[in-house]
């Protein structure tokens, strides 16, 4: 079976798995929302023609209009298109604190009168970025260490395996929070810390796959041909070992999203005023008795995102498992 047809085959299998497809579509929609967040939820118009100038304030605000009152400009303008949710994620409005969902604020407002929906739309950026970057880092570290341990074996394997074992002894939140507590908070630090603390599963998987493959005949053949170790590792073993690792990485994205929202909830993650789902949840904790909408909607968003990634990972696992021919039953 050549490479292209195999990929095609896997792709077709995922397309036929309705649940995995739903998960994938959800993630694509979420990515689009995140990418166009400032066009969807903003207090500035998307497009406005004002004093014979064509402005796109969501994308670029000219110097002379930095302090401008956009409501005023829209009223005076000849033509304008406003975003569907006309609120900025960070615009404080103390006259509208903790309002329940209504036609003007679909998902209510928070303690500073900010629109919850606008904050959730902008918060999706954080969740997507954390998932992908943190897992990217843990993939690089995990695959590299796992490959070294599995391919070379011997003392290197014992050393790396012991290191993995040590890292797995730390209860995850204790480790992450201990690190976060001593760093200045920041969104990229969270991603790096989550990535550097969650690579153990990937490393173990990669190691196992490499041990399985390194004695295959085609690897022996490659060795006989005098290929360098790095070429054998990255060109010949890795492509054959990566499938189960990618499945685990997909589940890893789900858990990174969870971890970020939990860290932010505890106050050690994304800092205000940056919008994130965990931050709205922590406000929800504060106003639990009076504002049901604060925990409900961001929690639902986290739940659906995690579910979508898990469904996708599940579908990927089924598609890659040659023993399974029927519907998704391996979970």
């Amino acid at each position: 079976m050549n490479k292209k047809s195999y990929r095609h085959f896997i792709f077709r299998k995922i397309l036929h798995n309705r649940l995995a497809l739903t998960g994938g579509i959800f993630i694509i929609i979420l990515s689009l929302i995140a990418f166009f967040a400032s066009l969807i939820a903003n207090d500035k118009p998307i497009l406005v023609i004002y004093q014979n100038r064509l402005l796109l304030p969501c994308i670029y605000v000219p110097q002379d209009l930095k302090q401008a009152d956009w409501l005023n400009i829209i009223n005076k303008s000849d033509f304008s298109i406003s975003p569907p949710i006309p609120y900025s994620p960070i615009g404080v409005n103390l006259n509208e604190c903790l309002l329940a969902p209504s036609p003007s604020h679909w998902l209510g407002t928070d303690e500073n009168g900010r629109d919850v929906l606008a904050r959730m739309i902008h918060g999706s950026r954080i969740s997507l970025q954390v998932g992908i970057i943190a897992v990217g880092i843990s993939l690089i570290v995990g695959v590299y260490l796992g490959a070294m341990a599995g391919y070379y074996g011997g003392w290197l394997d014992s050393l790396i395996s012991r290191f993995i074992e040590i890292m797995m002894c730390f209860p995850f939140f204790f480790l992450v929070l201990a690190v976060m507590a001593f760093l200045e908070p920041g969104i990229y630090k969270i991603m790096i810390v989550i990535g550097l603390t969650s690579w153990t599963g990937i490393a173990r998987l990669t190691r196992g796959e490499f041990i399985k493959i390194r004695n295959e005949e085609y690897i022996l053949a490659a060795r006989c041909l005098g290929l360098s170790n790095s070429k054998i590792i990255f060109r010949h073993i890795l492509p054959n070992a990566i499938a189960p690792v990618l499945v685990s990485a997909t589940f890893g994205i789900a858990s990174a999203v969870l971890v970020e929202s939990s860290l932010t909830f505890l106050g050690f993650g994304v800092q205000i005023p940056t919008a994130s789902w965990g931050e709205i949840l922590s406000q929800g904790h504060k106003y639990l008795t009076i504002a049901w909408w604060l925990p409900l909607f961001p929690g639902l968003a986290i739940f659906l995102t995690v579910l979508a990634y898990n469904l996708l990972g599940e579908g990927l696992r089924d598609a890659l498992d040659p023993r399974l021919t029927g519907s998704g039953d391996s979970w």
């Binding site: 012991r162 002894c169 995850f172 204790f174 929070l177 001593f182 760093l183 979970w331």
Partner: protein, 326 residues
Amino acid sequence: MWSYILRRVLLAIPTFIGISLITFFIMHLAPGDPATMALQGDSIGKGMSAANIEQMKETLGLNDALPVQYFRWMKRLVCLDLGESLKDHRKVTEKIWEALPNTLLLNLLALIVVYIVSLPLGVFSAEKQNTFFDKSITTALFILYAIPVIWLALLLIMLFYVKLNWFPASGIQSLDSEYMRWWPWLFDRLKHMILPLVCFSYAGFAVISRYVRSSMLEVIRQDYIRTARAKGLSEHKVIYKHALSNALIPIVTLLGLELPGLLGGSVIIEQIFSWPGLGWLFFDALNSRDYTVIMGLTVFTSILVLLSTLLSDILYAVVDPRIHYE
């Protein structure tokens, strides 16, 4: 078997050293140093002069070379001395000792609940593989598994405390519990425990029952099950006597593997429910940058995990005579 156990125990020693090294490394990773960090997190510390901070660093021994500091810390660690809290100057071990029973109580109860629910679920799912029952259980657990614990905790509090007022939302007992007779006292404790317990256990249902299911399915395919069936044993006996007892062997190891998750989760759950356990203590120390407590708890919880994995490995060797150390 004994040599396996001995080797396993000896191997735990380098792991322990590794744990201590990593913890020490984390604490010195911070820009600045623990003393300054601790003082920045402290309201009194803000007014302190640089000279005072310097003096404090000197008393804490933070001006020595890192290896010197590490060996001094390690020497005390071996004697079970984790230093004293920067916040209230009480011994860290004493604080941990106070909080430990509360966390262990919840975690062990959660483990019991998880196994009581997941074992039958997993066995039934395997017995009725690919039926409607199996599929709906699988789907329900899959959805349950994706629910963020914070969300569930907040929703439970809103429903059962704010709306229905059935269960309290914080603490381990009511304020007047000291004056209660033992029966109402126990009832009061139980009421406080229900919601955190649900939060601790729901995610485990999915994990453990899936393991039980796949382990059962694996065993059912074996020859000796076919033999048991062939000699005319009832299906009930085949499943519950021959299959189950063998399928349970790998499940034993999971006991040890569940603990890190439970302990890690306790930081969030105990904070939400104000449950005075290890997680709550840790969160409190994080907020005041109390680095001796943070360091002590990080080491302590990971040693707890180390011991539990050790225990489950040994247990595995005891229940499965096929295990040998390679």
